[in-house]
Symmetry: C2
Subunit: 343 residues, 2 copies
DNA sequence: TTGAAAGCGGTACCAA
DNA sequence: TTGGTACCGCTTTCAA
């Protein structure tokens, strides 16, 4: 079991070729400083010995790793899209990107911050907006961070996001324009600022007299959407349209409607939020608010690089959303479209 | 902009407290070697100065990083599940896990291998089975690797997987037992060994006289499943049941059936493979072969640690699969259930 | 129980 | 154009 042969080091190469380690280093990093001949000889030796520089040593010396972490709260397809965008940008600029997830646990978030403090990565793209974020309670100096998707509570971080409130207004108004009057909202958990903003948009669009009973708090899962819709359906005056805080809950709502023997969109219109992959694949395909997820990731990485290069002040980039109409919304057919809620 | 203050180092702490850096180091790594008093004093100083050890330096010295990479071919929810399992195991044993993806590009795979060679990580869990894997053509010594999900062509790597062939046999037989005779197969791309194995299972279950015309090659995407099903439906003697090589293609098949005005499972039964999340959520919910994805990840990480500790020889762990019956399969109602194909 | 010092494997400055 | 060497920040003998 003497298989544990050490990897080839720069010294091995230098000794083998009878040159200094400085020369070997230069062959890789500043080849123009070497003579044709030496360069060729060294490169050949490197190849022959299978030498690969120890990045740990290099990074230690250079004080940078060219690595960025993307931290997501959960491993949903939604966040994956963001990651994809980040990777695309990183590839163009020579960064490596790695993904970690926190399970919405601030302690785990902290672990990644520490990794950066420990120089394993240069910076972080944080795709979470939980109020419980480690950021908020943080005393120590923060690592270089870009917030993606949503501003982080209480800290003016460089951010790439969409305007959740405005998008929610648009979604609600779309339903209103279809003639719906009793429009319900299934929101995400109030612990998520994003969910709060979407709720605010809904309220804003519904006007001052909106019916609080038509607002139900879910937790972004399909099951919660299903449950919430069940509640809504049980009312004496069920809504004719529902604006769900994300696609998953919208799907849950569709399910509940179906299992109640009603049809979407004939009996009830439903609009989701995010335009996740599943939105277009579901049966029926979901009308939803399109969020440019990959683009958010892409821009986030670009912004992070600027931050790392100290070449830009903090910025807040807001990307546009749009409503993607598919098959779960239709004009309101109900006669009884009284505007006044029964409270 | 003199904000660029260097992070606190071990020397800073030592100077501040008037002790040696060895003492500071010991306070963190071997506290039992220090006197009560010194230890307390040093720890207080560390806390006060917000010192965090530079892991790069530590890893360089220790020759290990306690980091593992999970490399996936694509960022699908399917691979995410594997990642989740890996993380769970890693958390118990103090490893950090980071995810990278290759887009099925061997060159990108190579990049991650290099990262390990460069000591940024100790080992790799490779969740890909492409024949084009960088592994196959590799001359250099491989980094410590565990293959998850599928054996890698031509290299006897430690592996955690399922028996794709046996599972495919079971899936096909399940359809056969429901009375179906004309059972088609939509396979994954033949470049994927996994797809090949599943196809082989299908052929094995159908027996020697299977109809090659009932085998269509897809590429694991929904669209390809839809297209393939379209082809099948266009035959003079369309199948009464279809075994799709994964859930996505199964969904595509369901779509095609629906849009042809037929019903699933009344007119045509469809079974998928993998039991991805979407399988249970789709309408109708998919009958499929359950693959213990997270468990595969979990066991892979455990195995990798053994490999890294040189405490185990190469191993091939095979986990069981089972058929999860949902709503896309039903007994064959067709009278014309002739066993002999028309070839 | 503590300190001094030798590396770990690179990069880059200063000389030659 | 090349070599010598200080240094990045830490761990761990070896001595005191």
């Amino acid at each position: 079991m003497t298989d544990d042969a050490r990897p080839t080091t720069i010294t091995d190469v230098a000794v083998e070729l009878g040159v200094s380690i400085a020369t070997v280093s230069r062959a890789l990093t500043r080849p123009e400083l070497l003579s044709q001949e030496t360069r060729a000889r060294v490169l050949e030796g490197i190849e022959r010995l299978g030498y690969q520089p120890n990045l740990l040593a290099r990074d230690l010396r250079l004080r940078e790793s060219k690595v960025a972490f993307v931290i997501v709260p959960s491993l949903s397809p939604f966040f994956l899209e963001v990651f994809r965008g980040v990777e695309k940008a990183a590839r163009k600029t020579g960064y490596s990107v790695l993904m970690g997830h926190t399970d919405r646990d601030p302690a785990r978030e902290q672990v990644f911050f520490d990794q950066v403090a420990a120089r394993r990565a240069d910076g972080i793209i944080l795709v979470t907006s939980s109020r419980a974020s480690a950021i908020v309670s943080r005393k120590q100096r923060l690592p270089p961070i870009v917030a993606a998707l949503e501003q982080i509570d209480g800290r003016p971080l460089p951010t790439v996001r969409v305007d959740h409130t405005a998008a929610a207004v648009a979604a609600t108004e779309y339903l209103l324009e279809l003639g719906h009057r009793r429009v319900a909202h299934i929101s995400g958990p109030m612990i998520s600022p994003m969910a709060v903003h979407r709720l605010e948009g809904y309220q804003q669009a519904m006007g001052p007299g909106f019916d609080a009973g038509l607002c139900i708090e879910g937790d972004f899962t399909i099951r919660s959407g299903e449950l919430a819709m069940g509640l809504l359906l049980g009312r004496q005056d069920p809504p004719t349209a529902v604006f769900a805080g994300n696609d998953e809950m919208a799907i849950g709502a569709v399910r509940a409607v179906k299992s109640a023997g009603l049809r979407v969109p004939e009996d009830i219109s439903i609009i989701g939020f995010d335009d996740q992959r599943i939105a277009g694949l579901y049966d029926p395909p979901l009308t939803t608010v399109h969020v440019p997820t990959a683009e958010i990731g892409y821009r986030s990485m670009l912004l992070l690089e600027r931050v790392l290069a100290h070449s830009a002040a903090d910025r807040d980039i807001v990307l546009p959303t749009k409503i993607t109409v598919r098959a779960t919304t239709a004009p309101c057919k109900t006669r009884l479209d009284r505007a006044a809620p029964s409270t």
